[in-house]
Amino acid sequence: MGVLERIAAVRGTEGYTAVDARDGTPCVRIEASALPAFALMLRDECGFETNTFVTAIDRTEKRPVFDICYQFLSLQHADRVRVLIEVDAADPRVPTIKDLWIGASYSERECFDMFGVAFEGHDPLERLLMPEGYEHHPLRKEFPHHGIEPDRLYREWERTRSAGGKA
């Protein structure tokens, strides 16, 4: 039984839209508020034991939205599913799924770090790769590839250095 049939068998065809992905992975689009229930269903009733990644796509060049992408893997059925959620780029926020798959914790932190997506209920939501106190979210399209300098951390470092290494 395919992923979409398994989902339809549990909750019908309401509340989500199946979309085609270029690579043939079954893909569903849901609302952010439906995520906790949908994720719980994927884990407990559709057999998705593990979270592969959580990331975002910045689509602001066309429309002011981010797509939050989740991908899950089911070992017992040997298939994958991708869940897409469209959020407002001005205030991107989705509920966390780290209580269901603890492995999604770093992925969510990375997504917050790179895109500024707030994962509600992920506490404390810290940066993963960029230093604490960094002011920008580098994978947003508005962030230039060469970086933004001087930023606050850089200025602090400059001040420390000019004071002979003493802050």
């Binding site: 992905a21 270029r22 690579d23 592969t52 990331t55 796509i57 992408c69 990375e110 940066r127 790769l129």
Partner: protein
């Protein structure tokens, strides 16, 4: 130890169950391991809370090697990102190349000729052996078996000589391209590879004679860092770390790519999920990789002289001799280099790398640069699991745990 209170560090909050008359316990010591510690296998910092020698808390701090690879991919475009994939997990560049090429092929519906697939499998399995040898050498040297490091690096050097012959570089090969591989394989390389594969299994036996039954190696690894299958899945672990707990899941078997389904090999699984099982799984994987290489070499004879790169000229460069003579071909080469675009949509193609499931999630808006390129790095998930395995264990077990989880910071930080 009795006058530990006089040490000059900020005392932490000891847990309630600690007996303060016990001289081995008392206050928590904050220990920063790394980022320049040789046993962290790269620039990883671990903030460790120590009670005596027992780890009570551990917080990995990653990002010291963050180079913004995903951002670079968006800026550079589809083709020019290939050399950057080498520098992710730099002990296995060819597996990274292949993962990236495969996601692009999925996006563009590009067929890879059979010879291209066979060459890919051959060099990917050689890379897997080289990567596992690094694991073995570095983990063993961290646990005191210094000789192993030299033994494994001797073998790895032989593989690098082979890869040099195949790809033109010892490291950072950029050999696998969209639609196939960069160059064909000739008979002399095959002969060299056969020579290597003939003697390598006896070397694995030598490694095993040194370590598998070794009392010190066994005691340092057995029962340390044990995982249950449920934990491993919930923590998104994959590859040998997942198979070490007895979960029979290998992308090569379960989501086959490059024609792995037609090869005869076995997937080793462990039972206890501890460091020792992960070691045994990796040793057996090297033997299976030798089998795969031998089969790939045998097939190479059948496809001799056929295409190793797709003929779809939208994605591959025209032959060099034609570029020198023909204006149209020159223009074509220029177009491919500067303006190769892929259809709209999203694609994800996983490969079984030596660290676990490696995949590139790419989103295209139909232009010559990706809208988004997310690298699903298995190493990041392995780092995430360090606190799970280390808490409650002794500090010295940390070396075994870090070594056996096997990650490379170039891939973790990207």
């Amino acid at each position: 130890m009795t006058d530990a209170q006089t040490y000059e560090y900020t005392p932490g909050v000891p847990p309630d169950d600690i007996d303060h008359d016990d001289p081995l316990h008392g206050e928590m010591l904050e220990l920063h391991m790394g980022p320049q510690h040789p046993a962290t296998h790269g620039v990883l910092r671990l903030g460790i809370q120590l009670d005596g020698e027992t780890i009570r808390g551990c917080k990995p701090d990653v990002g010291y090697l963050h180079r913004g690879k995903e951002k670079s991919c968006e800026s550079l475009g589809w083709r020019k990102f290939f050399p950057h994939t080498d520098r992710l997990d730099y002990v296995q560049p060819l597996l990274n190349n292949c993962a990236y090429a495969m996601s692009l092929e999925k996006l563009g519906d590009i067929e890879v000729p059979e010879r291209g697939q066979t060459i890919r499998i051959l060099i990917m399995e050689l890379s897997r052996i080289a990567a596992h040898l690094i694991y073995l050498g570095t983990t063993a040297i961290d646990l005191g078996a210094v000789t192993m490091f030299f033994f494994t690096f001797t073998e790895r050097e032989k593989i690098y000589t082979l890869l040099d012959a195949y790809t033109g570089h010892r490291m950072n090969n950029t050999y696998i391209r969209v639609g196939g591989v960069y160059a064909d394989v000739d008979a002399s390389m095959i002969a060299m590879t056969r020579e290597f594969l003939a003697q390598f299994p006896s070397k694995i036996d030598e490694f095993e004679a040194l370590l598998t039954g070794n009392r010190i190696w066994y005691d340092r690894n057995h029962g340390v860092g044990a995982l249950t299958p449920e934990q491993a899945l919930a923590w998104s672990l994959s590859g040998p770390n997942l198979r070490g707990c007895g979960v029979d899941w290998d992308v090569r078997k379960n989501n086959p790519y490059c024609g792995y389904e037609s090869y005869d090999f076995e997937v080793p699984v462990g039972t206890k999920g501890d460091c020792y099982d992960r070691y045994l799984v990796r040793i057996e994987e090297m033997r299976q990789s030798v089998r795969l290489c031998e089969q790939a070499i045998d097939r190479m004879r059948d496809t001799k002289g056929s295409d190793f790169l797709t003929r779809d000229r939208r994605y591959v460069l025209p032959p060099k001799d034609k570029v020198n003579d023909s204006m149209e071909e020159l223009i074509h080469q220029f177009k491919v280099v500067t303006d190769m675009s892929l259809p709209k949509g999203e694609a994800y193609a996983p490969v079984e790398s030596s660290k676990g499931e490696l995949g590139f999630f790419v989103a295209s808006d139909g232009t010559s640069a990706p809208l988004r390129c997310h690298i699903r790095a298995p190493g990041l998930m392995n780092v995430q699991a360090i606190p799970l395995l280390a808490e409650g264990r002794l500090l010295s077990d940390m070396m075994a745990i870090i070594g056996s989880l096997d990650f490379v910071m170039g891939e973790v930080d990207r």
